[in-house]
Amino acid sequence: MISLQSLDDETLSFILMNPFRIFPDYTPEISGQDLRELGAESPDDISYYVVSTIRETVAGSTVNLKAPLAVNALNRRAKQIILDQPEYTFRHALGSTNRKEGE
């Protein structure tokens, strides 16, 4: 888990997760326009984080697979993108997953 903290507003932060650890089959397809905005030449240059919404219980907590943060590690540019893939939702239940052993 990663905490994304706003520098302008100290009360604003998000809990991010590595989606591939929780959902090994996650395959975000970034659009050409988003790639250009991030100054990336290839989708391989992009790493992804998903925003989680932590509720009272783990079972009720969700991750946003529809709108991940796409990060171009080469130039440190990032943006939240919206995937055109109907299989991913804004509120994917976290409770149904388990991490692999050793993580």
Partner: protein, 72 residues
């Protein structure tokens, strides 16, 4: 809810100052041209949904759940 059928190139007016024109249409999408005053916000609905989800995600996370997740 009002449902209208329009063909490519046809348009409709909303409230005298907004015109929607169907520019093109495919089997799974339509391309719309929207002519509206600058002060009228136009957002793809999924953006609105994403913004609402972000707002909820940024609300205070429960310490207890975080601990539980870290143990997993």
């Amino acid at each position: 809810m009002l449902i209208l059928q329009r063909r490519k190139g046809q348009s409709l007016s909303i409230n005298k100052n907004i015109t929607l024109t169907v520019v093109d249409a495919g089997p799974e999408w339509v391309k719309l041209a929207i002519d509206a005053p600058k002060d009228i916000p136009i957002l793809r609905s999924e953006l609105k949904e994403a913004a609402a989800e972000n707002k909820e995600a940024s609300a205070t996370a429960s310490r207890q759940v975080l601990d539980e997740l870290l143990k997993k």
